[in-house]
Symmetry: C2
Subunit: 203 residues, 2 copies
């Protein structure tokens, strides 16, 4: 049984690292795939689910393009139920196959599986640079606006995590390895992390 969880600061490359690590270890990779499963089961819009689960609010959600919103009223009351369903989906995935899950509370939801828990982070300048060059995030924002936005996203991740987890999102003691990607090509470090993980699972 090989379960890996990846928590990450926004812009640190945690998702790329997770994807490459799952490929290197030949295990399934889950991130937004979980939202897709939730959307199928609940008949709710993916963007709506993502906003409710990740940010606890509908801030920034483009109301006009929510496909299912015409059929039901927007309700923050969906939050606890969606979160519980997300945890159920995560447990089903882990019971089914070896996998790597990015975010979504998998680190504490899957505690009984003894997952190998990673945290990925970087300096603010490196994260901004990564957003500018690799992602489409914050195209229309100044650096300081982008910085504020990134801090808000991380704060929302921390709040949502710490509401249920025994160890704070930001506390390295909740993880087995914390990786600072500043200045690194993620593809270069993944083989070493994969080898480390393989040994970790043997213990």
């Amino acid at each position: 049984m090989r379960i890996i969880t990846v928590n990450r600061e926004f812009g640190s490359g945690g998702r790329e690292l997770g994807k490459r690590l799952a490929d290197a270890l030949d295990i399934a990779y889950y991130d937004r795939e979980i939202i897709t499963i939730l959307a199928e089961r609940s008949s709710l819009d993916k963007g709506y689910i993502e906003r409710i689960i990740e940010h606890g609010s509908l801030r920034g959600y483009p109301i006009t393009c929510g496909q299912t919103l015409s059929n039901r009223s927007i309700s923050l009351g969906d939050g606890p139920s969606l979160l519980a369903q997300q945890h159920k989906v995560i447990r089903e995935i882990a019971a089914k196959e070896d996998c790597l899950i990015v975010g979504r509370g998998a680190d504490y939801v899957l505690q009984e599986y003894r997952p190998f828990k990673l945290f990925v982070y970087a300096d603010m300048a490196a994260k901004i640079n990564r957003c500018r060059t690799k992602g489409s995030a914050g195209e229309n924002l100044t650096d300081s606006e982008l910085k504020r936005e990134m801090r808000q996203i991380d704060k929302a991740r921390a709040n949502s995590h710490d509401f249920m987890a025994p160890c704070a999102w930001n506390d390295k003691h909740g993880y087995h390895l914390c990786i600072n990607t500043t200045g690194l090509e993620i593809k270069n470090i993944v083989p070493h992390i994969a080898a480390y993980a393989e040994d970790w699972f043997k213990k």
Copy 2:
């Protein structure tokens, strides 16, 4: 130029990891060796220097076995001077050879050398177990006394570090890789960290 610094929680195995990593990379290893150099230069007792530098006090120093104390009065005024001398010694070492230095503020003293900075930590239970099985620390202490002692040592390390460093001792952002040794055989993970470090230096 390959300079590695290792900061660590007491009992986490940071020293063993540092020693093995230096061996794996075939670079010089410095820990208490720095105290030996300071003792030679200052004609002060090693235990006295260690207490002053690491704990900022003479708490627990066995007064009766201080060899040089008969020649001079005990003075906490030695602190700043010894600290400055320690930093000088660390800079001389880094200028001379590739090396790995455990603790002693090397992570911020050698900032201009762009060191690869590691932090080693573990769960409290694992650290107590390590102290009981591998070290002679706390032989006569109960678990809760040992725990208190370990927390005090880490607090002293943090205070001494944070007095001069730009990033807190406990903050993962001050490090490139943070390694949780809980449940691991350090000799098994060192080859992966060595490979990671080699790639890190190439960037």
